[in-house]
Amino acid sequence: MAGLMHPLKRTHIAFAAALGAVALAGMAVPALAQRDPAYEAARSAGQIGEQMDGYLGIVGASTPSLERLVKDINIKRRALYAEKARAANATLEEYAFTAGCLNIARTAAGEKYQAPGGAWQTRTGAPPQRDPRCP
């Protein structure tokens, strides 16, 4: 049916639909959920850190509760990366690595991150050591 319409009319409809989608998306923005207090505490204590691959890692001695925390978040991150990578026509690893670059850039002073050599570093006021490909 759409094929029979005048091309200009089709453009108008598409434009209206796009406007509608924008309006819907604007309304659907959820209240931004914050970090779980246990997660926040483990981050600031330097018990867990941001890895280059886009996931969290345990920095020092591991405990069952730390492992559970990290695993739980990493599973959620992986699912999210996979979904977004598919939408962006990228691989899971590419998307996760890009997010890793950003996650490391966003660490606060005192938090841990993984430097290109693989060693854990503590974030200071200075920019973190990142892979040369990071944006």
């Binding site: 931004l32 959920a33 998307y95 670059c101 950003l102 966003r106 990071c134 944006p135």
Partner: protein, 85 residues
Amino acid sequence: MNACKLTYLAGPAHKARMELRKIGPAGAARSLMAGLGLSVLSGCISVTAPDKPIVIELNINISQEVIYRLADDAENTINENADIF
């Protein structure tokens, strides 16, 4: 004609250290003997496991171009899911 059956007695071409430990001294000796026996025959290829662990760098294939293309998208994703980042 000597036939050299590499699949007989000899273990897989690559054997991780842990596996060697698992089969114990008797097993190691047996596979060593098998290896010696095979190496005596002409035309056999001896394969030794590397002494360093094999590290596969998975991130090496990701190009900067792709990272730059995905950066904005990833930034939004992180902002919209602040509870897990």
